[in-house]
Amino acid sequence: MTTLETPPNDSPWRLKSPIDARAVFIVIVAFILLSFSAQRVDLGKMAGQMGEFGLASVGLKDSSQIGRGLGGLVSDMFPVAISERTPIAMIEHFDANRLPPFARMETVQVEVSVLDPDTFQTDTHLVEKTYLVQPAGYLIFVLGKMLETIEIAIWASLFAIIGSLPLAIVGARNFTPHPVVYFASRSIVSFLRSMPELISALFLVLAFGFGPGAGILALALHSMGFLAKFYAEDIEAADPKPLEAIRATGAGSFAALRLAVLPQVLPSYTALTLYILDRNVRMAAVIGLVGAGGVGQELKGRYDMFQYDRVGTILLVIFITVLLLDQLAAHLRRRLI
């Protein structure tokens, strides 16, 4: 028999401390590495600019580089472009009797200076120009592009779900038909996940040409890797007791998956899938920048043409959409789980 050792009244036992030499060592090493890295990425310059901006915005300094940059950008972007004015000369098959809804025609007289090649004199004369004005034309156009972006995200997510399920099942240790299949599936999944969408989109645009196709594929491949990894981990972590109970009835793997595993992993699958959908909408806007369709492609075009009022409209639409989708996803998550 062992007797319980009681601690002496004045000093406690030696108890494990959460901070040991190793933790201190790790913190010091991390600090040294970060200070090297800070120099490499010019963190000092960034801090200086931020400080300058802070001082300037409370009035202690006349101006700051960030302030000037932001100020210029904001004044260029606002007011954002809502309407669309198109010279009717540029519209094919223009029919003044059948204008689009809410549209009107506007005729302005513009002074046009022409250099006379004979006399080398500049003649100024008035020319009438007619525009088709659509009051919310540009906004509607951007909303359409945003819808395209959302559609890209939905298709990509759908393909990702469909593709990731088989990968996840054969990539789960408890359901794989063979270790080789398991290894192959896990390798494919790692490969898919390691390809950033922006980069795969860049190459897929070369292969498929500009447009949503490349975007859908780029997003689908990456999300497939993501979903397959986490789906597989959920299957592996599922409680084995119901699984064995179903197997012991003589049912096959499909029934075991459907009746014992799926009910367990469904809440987590729903959360993962909603996250991927949410993320794909944001990423679909980003990969548009390399020409893979949607609102991102429009953004890139306008940015390159210095049309910052239109850039402002696009950013506003993206911002509001992401905000709304976030609310929707949160709502769905509460409902489904």
Binding site: P242, I246, A251, G252, A255, L259
Partner: protein
């Protein structure tokens, strides 16, 4: 004798075979070095109620799991109704057995009735399994079994995760009965239940199995329950059968043999009763 193949035919699942469960020279060691089953030979007659007694770690769970094909013995053979359960026979053999698990093994997010019907999933097509659209015959049988184990329509549609321990074990028994098994394997079916409920569940298991002519092989830690419900008691110690006889033969001497061993310094107090 009919051999049930993986046909999706419910009639086949219900075919009555002739003999029950037989272990022949079954041994199993684990990588840990434990010899969990040591040359076990045992015949379980049809329509009998056999209780496995033995100290913790004596191999009761291993024996029951190998009968269900949940682990494969190193040597020896297990037959259900005369058919070896190896290889391609395994699924067919499993359909002739029902297992009642100690921790119930229910899918908590499925309803009570869905859990019971899941026991018949091996006999229906995959589309029906996918949508849990069981044939009318299966639904009817599930309802009858649920009523038999004392659950009502409201409880049938509740998620299994919301049931009490005793209710869950009733569901487990109903599920084990849905394929009209020849053998019911029960691993400590009353381990986490209070004494009154444990008694009730054992009575239910015995009666329901008896009504359907199923043989029961049930491991227990409660010697009083074993005496009361068993036709035959098997004592297991260190993976070997050390006792085999009717409850009347379970003398204090026999109990000492069954529960003797280095792991049994905490001998059950009931042993002297």
């Amino acid at each position: 004798m009919t051999i049930v193949r993986s046909s999706a035919d419910i009639e086949n699942c219900q075919a009555r075979p002739v003999t029950a469960l037989a272990f022949h020279a079954v041994s199993q060691s684990f990588t840990s070095g434990t010899r969990a089953l040591d040359n076990v030979s045992l015949d379980i007659g049809a329509e009998s109620f056999t209780v496995l007694l033995g100290p913790s770690g004596s191999g009761k769970t291993t024996l029951l799991r190998s009968a269900a094909g949940l682990n494969t013995p190193d040597t020896g053979e297990i037959r259900v109704a005369g058919e070896s359960i190896t290889g391609r026979n395994l699924k067919a053999a499993r359909r002739r057995m029902g297992m009642v698990h100690q921790d119930f093994g229910l899918s908590e997010r499925l309803t009570t009735a869905q859990n019971v019907m899941a026991g018949a999933a091996s006999c229906i097509g995959w589309v029906r399994v996918l949508f849990q659209a069981y044939p009318r015959a299966v639904r009817l049988k599930a309802c009858q079994l649920l009523a038999r184990v004392g659950l009502d329509e409201v409880q049938a549609n509740r998620r299994a995760g919301t049931l009490s321990g005793g209710q869950r074990q009733r569901v487990g028994i109903a599920r084990a009965l849905i394929n009209d098994p020849l053998v019911i394997l029960a691993d400590e079916p009353v381990a986490s239940l209070d004494p009154a409920t444990a008694h009730e569940i054992m009575a239910l298991l015995r009666e329901a199995a008896g009504e359907r002519g199923a043989a029961v092989l049930c491991s227990l830690h409660q010697i009083d329950l074993a005496r009361r419900f068993a036709d035959r008691i098997i004592g297991l110690n260190h993976g070997q059968i050390v006792f085999d006889g009717p409850p009347a033969d379970l003398t204090p001497g026999a109990l000492a043999i069954i529960f003797d061993g280095p792991e049994t310094r905490l001998r059950p107090i009931v042993a002297v009763a």
